[in-house]
């Protein structure tokens, strides 16, 4: 990580919530007047399954320092099991972020039920702190240039397949 700005860095975080649980968790945090950091701006989707990875990359490209993806707890998705699909995409996206030279810690997945306003507020706060520690998104300086490093990142968890000659 390179030089940090003098003043306290206020990250901008784009959050995606599903209509049924996590958006209502945010509503609940509001109704109960629980305080959390003002750094997250939410977008409502019907379900976390609607999350097209393009949205996440668009947010980063547009200047977000981090992205929060949230949905109902596994098993509680209003559309039966679509959050499992979101979870799969989430892990894929993390992988892609690494390949793009963005710290994977800038993408967070949060399951929140409609009753978990307090948890939502707490998790937002801790995410803001984590991103603050990472500093502003600084794509160029993070970019990994060595081919070996890229390969090692791409192959992580797929060591066996990576052995196979191309």
């Amino acid at each position: 990580m390179t030089d940090k700005p003098e003043t306290k860095f206020e990250p901008v975080i784009i959050g995606f919530t599903c209509n049924w649980c996590s958006y209502r968790a945010a509503d609940m945090a509001g109704t109960a007047r629980m305080k959390y950091a003002p750094n997250v701006r939410l977008t409502r989707l019907m379900c976390s399954g609607r999350l097209d990875p393009t949205f996440v990359f668009k947010a980063f490209a547009g200047g977000a320092d981090a992205v929060l993806v949230s949905g109902c707890h596994p098993g509680d998705c209003h559309y039966i099991n679509q959050n499992y699909k979101a979870m799969r995409r989430f892990h894929l996206m993390k992988r892609v972020l690494v390949q793009m030279g963005i710290e994977p810690g800038r993408l967070k997945l949060l399951w929140a039920s409609a009753a978990e306003g307090a948890m939502f507020a707490r998790e937002v706060n801790s995410f803001v702190e984590e991103v603050r520690a990472l500093g502003p998104l600084n794509w160029n300086s993070n970019h990994v240039h060595t081919a070996d490093h890229v390969m090692s990142v791409v192959a992580e968890g797929h060591e066996h397949e990576a052995e196979v000659a191309a």
Partner: protein, 673 residues
């Protein structure tokens, strides 16, 4: 992203919500900022007002729509879950398609959760900018109209479910009442007397059970369970397994000869709470509805050994059918009421109270059966030996409730139930009764009076949480007794109270399978397992899923009057829906553009509702809008970008992201420089 050719005329309305918003966010500044800085996006007017949702606030918007020819409206106020409908209707009233209105939550997501006024004001600007950018891509939509099937499915035939079923049936609409046990009645059927009036439970419950059983509009499906639910409000399809009773109901007269002759005795763990026996062919209790018995195949000698058939031999109408199969029924209903009630806390979990180890420690349900004149002891309050009357009885409150180790919540009925027991013990045996309580909670009508009556009857009240019940005696006076060890927190004394009988007032718990039930019907339950209502104060009857209602203890612990009230309320809601004949659904649906579809079939497996069909002939996929629920997963998954999601299109969301970040672009560059 492609810019739209024609510019929209957007109005922005920022609400103060009294001081709810304006106390934290500088509303004037936000409004002026939007007017000046969101011109490029199409904002032609931006206003702020004390209460946008008031009729004057709504008229403000309507006037602008008419006079300025607004084509889009953004209201920055509270959560869309609260007032989206209000503002959509306001737009509709002024001739603007309601779906061209977007609500931005600057209250729940901003002023209520942030304290830094500057940051909150900046955030308000950003999220309004997001809303403005999004609304540009909104489309004029029409709600989908679906007819409401007039039939209702009620699951659970306890007092709450019975009440709901009767109300709807009396209004002339068909009801399927599904009950898991062989008879309806639920827990109330097990009780002898009900607090606070001490009227006989059977006397008030049986007529309702009979009504439900005979009602021409009620199809009673006992010994049955719902296995699958498809569809949505207005047209659910439920698959119900009607377990084989092993007899032809049409021929059975309920004469009772079969269970009299059946040689196989079985301990009845359900209705008699393990205190009494039944036969292998049985009705749970004499007033059971329906009156037909069932053969419990696990215990029936014929199913075990292949011989016996005593019931068949003696049945005067020859209706026993050992080969009968389970029946699978599918029923179509417009609405569902869930009323599956509660399970008793398993007192064995608190080992220091000795239940299961010390014979004269009883659970509350055991005591209910014991004090019931139709129960296993004929209504005599006696020790486990079946004959000795107790001289001293201890009743322990809050067993498994208000306890971080078990359930944190108060089960709300056990104080009253303990008082009821204290009265019954005294009345039946004249024994000394000790109530061990943490707090006495008697908040409903007539309850405090009942407590005073008990005080006057000479029942002893000791305030303290019981530490242990044991048979280890120290003093001669404790010989042969159970000793209840407790600290009296009013005097600070450690007490050892010798009793003959201890009754554990166990708490109410969600049904052991409540999570599975919630999943089956696509609704949520709390971490404890109680089903979650739509709003804890304003809508404790509906759930987040349209067309599914909850009544009775399935929603949380409550007494009979509250269960009945909630059952009736759920029925009223359902009848309101049925009367509408059709319902407007959000037109949030996915559409596949055939010309872009490559026929890869990736989307086919993404849909949990099987809404996507594949045309083999044309090699393209198509969404069935009647089945699509609009989650949007297929939209996100299509590699060809051939699917659009109405109301949540890629353009809308990507544009909103742009808008949310509008403010940051220069700031970012400054940091980078």
């Amino acid at each position: 992203m492609d810019k739209k050719d024609e510019k929209e005329k957007i109005g922005v309305y920022v609400c103060h919500c009294g001081t709810n918003i304006a106390g934290v966010i500088n509303v004037e500044e936000v409004s002026t900022w939007a007017a000046e800085n969101l011109k490029d996006q199409g904002v032609v007017i931006s206003r702020e007002y004390k209460f946008m949702c008031s009729s004057l606030g709504q008229e403000l918007i309507q006037k602008d729509i008419k006079e300025l020819g607004l084509t889009r409206v953004v209201v920055a106020a509270c959560s869309p879950h609260l007032h989206e409908k209000t503002f959509r209707n306001a737009c509709k009233g002024a001739g603007l398609n309601p779906y061209l209105c977007e609500l931005v939550s600057i209250r729940e997501q901003d002023s209520w959760v942030h304290t830094d006024k500057v940051a909150a004001t900046e955030k308000a600007k950003a999220i309004i900018s997001g809303g403005v950018s999004r609304v540009v891509y909104h489309e004029a939509l029409e709600p989908l109209h679906v007819p409401i099937h007039p039939a209702t499915l009620v699951v659970g035939g306890g007092i709450a479910g019975i009440q709901a079923a009767l109300e709807i049936a009396d209004a002339g609409f068909p009801v399927y009442l599904v009950e898991r046990e062989p008879s309806i009645g639920g827990h109330m059927a097990q009780f002898d007397k009900t607090f606070p009036t001490l009227d006989c439970s059977a006397c008030i419950l049986t007529p309702k059970m009979v009504d439900a059983g005979n009602h021409p509009n009620i199809t009673l499906l006992t010994y049955s369970e719902v296995e699958k639910v498809d569809g949505y409000v207005g047209s659910f399809v439920a698959t119900i397994r009607k377990r084989a009773r092993s007899l032809r109901e049409a021929d059975c007269t309920g004469c009772g000869i079969c269970w009299e002759k059946c040689p196989k005795k079985v301990v009845d763990d359900v209705f008699e709470a393990g205190m009494g026996n039944r036969k292998a062919i049985y009705v749970p209790f004499p007033q059971a509805v329906p009156k037909y018995p069932v053969i419990d195949r696990v215990n029936c000698t014929y199913y075990i050994k292949g011989t016996c058939k005593a019931c068949e031999k003696f049945c005067p109408t020859n209706c026993i059918d050992f080969a009968q199969q389970d029946e699978i029924l599918t029923v179509e209903v417009g609405n569902v009421i869930l009323a599956t009630g509660w399970d008793l806390f398993d007192t064995r979990r608190i080992t220091q109270y000795g239940y299961g180890r010390l014979p004269n420690v009883f659970t509350s349900l055991e005591f209910e059966r014991m004090s019931n004149s139709a129960g296993p002891t004929g209504g005599n309050v006696v020790l486990r030996d079946g004959k000795t009357e107790p001289k001293v009885v201890g009743i322990v409150h809050c067993v498994g409730s208000r306890d971080k180790n078990y359930n944190e919540y108060c089960s709300s009925i056990c104080c009253m139930q303990s008082l009821k027991f204290a009265h019954l013990v005294k009345e039946k045996t004249g024994a000394e009764v000790y109530n061990f309580y943490i707090d006495i909670r008697t908040p409903a009508k007539g309850y405090e009076e009942f407590y005073h009556r008990l005080l006057e009857e000479g029942t002893h009240f000791i305030r303290g949480k019981v530490a242990e019940i044991s048979d280890a005696t120290r003093l001669p006076s404790e010989e042969g007794k159970l000793v209840i060890q407790v600290e009296d927190t009013l005097t600070g004394n450690q007490l050892r109270v010798p009793v003959d009988m201890a009754i554990l007032s166990a708490g109410l718990e969600p049904r052991h399978d409540s999570k599975a039930l919630a999943k089956l019907f696509g609704i949520s339950c709390s971490a404890d397992g109680w089903l979650i209502e739509r709003h804890p104060k304003l809508d404790p009857i509906a759930t987040m899923t349209d067309g599914i209602y909850i009544a009775g203890c399935v929603q949380g612990p409550k007494d009979i009057p509250a269960s009945v009230a909630q059952g009736a309320a759920a029925a009223a809601r359902v009848m309101g829906k049925i009367q509408q004949k059709e319902i407007a659904l959000e037109p949030v649906r996915a559409t596949i553009h055939e010309e872009q579809c490559s026929g890869c079939r990736i989307c086919n497996n993404l849909c949990p509702f099987n809404a996507i069909l594949f045309h083999e002939d044309r090699m393209v996929s198509e969404v069935n809008p009647a089945l699509c629920q609009g989650c949007g997963t297929c939209v996100a998954g299509c590699p060809a970008g051939a699917i659009t999601g109405t109301g949540f299109s890629n353009e809308q969301i990507l544009s909103q992201i742009n808008g949310l970040l509008l403010l940051n672009v220069p700031k970012k560059q400054a940091v980078a420089a």
